[in-house]
């Protein structure tokens, strides 16, 4: 009933917008990373033609990315922070999502609203909140020392100075990362747990499975896509994060790969190196993305079979 040209035309402005302001900028990063540096102005000159690409700066960055070098340390630290935060998010988030999806009957709507609430509170405000809590005399600091948690952390070597959580403490950065990203992990996980048909669990029960075995063999496999989805959804931005460590620590000992990129663009004179690191980071994250998409694809095929 509609003319054939209508729908492509309707999509046109959006597609053109994304081509110019999303795809072209990504290409611009590549062009700058593989460009040259003006010897007088010391500013990066992008090479727009791929035939003119100069791999020099990229290989320079790759040379920095070997054990014993600062970039390598930062990369390892980033991976460590992300993995620990991810494990923390799973350990806290899975039980919460599971409870709200399976057992919260009367309080479900209330719990859902409370779970969604942090989405609509600025990430920066939620980080600022920890400054309130962990500044000298703050409620959080007093809680940690009154309950003895501070001294335990200190004795375990997790915190180097129990009176100063806001400078150079990996513990605080990881705590802030978990706090910041966990809402984005819980919701997709909740959605996949909520979709699980109760009759599968009843079947497991009738066939004599213990609750634990039923969880292990029914619930866990069926929530795999949500678990992976949530994990990827928070892993990608965590790898690019630079503001969280800057806000709750701000010390060189807690810099992440995003801080390095930020420094090369905003602090240092070498955006070409920053662009090269960005390309490497994006490539690394792309591998994660593709792995995730393949797993989701396979899982949906298995479910259909």
């Amino acid at each position: 009933m509609y003319p054939r040209w209508l729908w492509p035309l309707s999509a046109l402005p959006g597609v053109v917008w994304l081509l110019i302001l999303f795809l072209l900028p990504l290409y611009a990063v590549l062009a700058l990373a593989f460009g040259t540096v003006d010897p007088i102005l010391l500013s990066g000159v992008p090479a727009w033609n791929p035939l003119d690409w100069n791999p020099g700066w990229m290989s320079h960055v790759l040379d920095l990315l070997v054990p014993g070098n600062i970039l390598w340390d930062v990369f390892l630290r980033t991976c460590r922070y992300v993995v620990i935060s991810l494990v923390g998010c799973i350990l806290i988030g899975y039980p919460v999502a599971y409870y709200v999806a399976r057992h919260a009957s009367r309080t479900k709507s209330l719990l859902l609203i409370l779970l969604v609430l942090p989405f609509w509170i600025s990430y920066l405000m939620r980080m600022l909140a920890w400054i309130n809590l962990l500044s000298p005399g703050g409620y959080g600091l007093r809680f940690l020392s009154d309950t003895g948690i501070s001294s335990v952390l200190h004795h375990l070597g997790i915190i180097s100075d129990p009176s100063n959580y806001l400078s150079g403490q990996s513990f605080t950065v990881i705590l802030a990362l978990i706090y910041g990203y966990i809402p984005f992990f819980i919701l997709p996980l909740y959605a996949s747990l909520d979709r699980i048909d109760q009759s599968h669990l009843e079947a497991a029960r009738d066939l004599g499975a213990s609750p634990f075995r039923a969880f292990l063999h029914v619930t866990l496999p069926l929530s795999k896509t949500g678990l992976l989805g949530g994990a990827v959804l928070i892993t990608l931005p965590m790898f690019g994060d630079y503001y969280t460590p800057n806000i709750v620590s701000g010390a060189p000992s807690t810099t992440m790969i995003g801080n390095q990129i930020d420094l090369y663009f905003h602090g240092g004179p070498q955006p070409t190196i920053g662009a090269a690191i960005t390309v490497l980071l994006a490539g690394f994250l792309m591998i994660l993305m593709l792995y995730y998409m393949r797993t989701v694809h396979r899982a949906s095929r298995e479910l259909a079979a």
Binding site: G14, L18, I92, Y99, L112, F184, D241, N246
Partner: protein, 308 residues
Amino acid sequence: MSQTVAHAPAVGYVQRLRGRLGNRWGKPRFLVLVTWGYIVWSIVPVLVAIQFSFNDSRSLSVWHGFTLKWYTSTDPSIDSVFHSADLHGALEQSLKLAGLDVLIATPIGVFLALGLARWRGRGSGASNFLMLFPLVTPEIVAGVSLLILFSRLLRFVPFGTVAQLLGHVTFSISYVVVIVRGRLFSIGPSYEEAAADLGAAPAAALYRVLLPLLLPAIVASAAIVFAISIDDFVISQWLSSGANSTTVPVAIYAATRATPEPSTDGIATVIMLITLLSVIAGVLVYRIFTRGESGRGSAVDDIAGLGI
């Protein structure tokens, strides 16, 4: 008879307790604890930040009594939310960007959603792929790429409001598409076909049938774009031109890197209220529009289905 009635509650209670303890398939107690513990942990810090925006001292951590001065004071030694040029300017910049973002990204996104949902032909698959990509691009990559674009290629775009707006719109369009497309799939083509069978011209079918049906999704996506734009930090920071294009998140970041004051908590509180109000308004309008429809495609589904 009366004896059994009198004993019934007690017996019932004991049985229920025994039932719960004996039933390993019942509600696991520790999950209740973890869940409510998590909720408290996720909300209380924010409440503390709100509390200290009313603190009668410069401290963010030691309570000295209640005051409104961090919001309303006109004393030049106090950077109050509504009277300090910096904070007031940041608030204005955030609202301006978010408002313009809604006005530009919503129509583009709605048309893109319609096009992508119904266009079958060369380039439609690639366009779908292109639309999804901004949703999974780490913000720092977005910031770096737009910074390079505007500084090396499209140099005529000035940093500050214009560049920030272009960036915000770019990363808002996909949210509109996902929400509107979900709604398009749930209403299906039958209403428009019925209108056409009854003699409506294509333009009338679009305007009088499809548009009203899409309206709730359009309102919901406008509210979400507004909230996303207000909360955006990375793009606003990378494309800012300095003090005159500082948004609230950028101002909060700058304050935490120096010495945050209760007014920092204050401006965060104000922006949080604005975001929550816009989201609540969006959800309410959606509810009113879709009243009487079956559960599928509800606002909660759409918001949860954002891929967030």
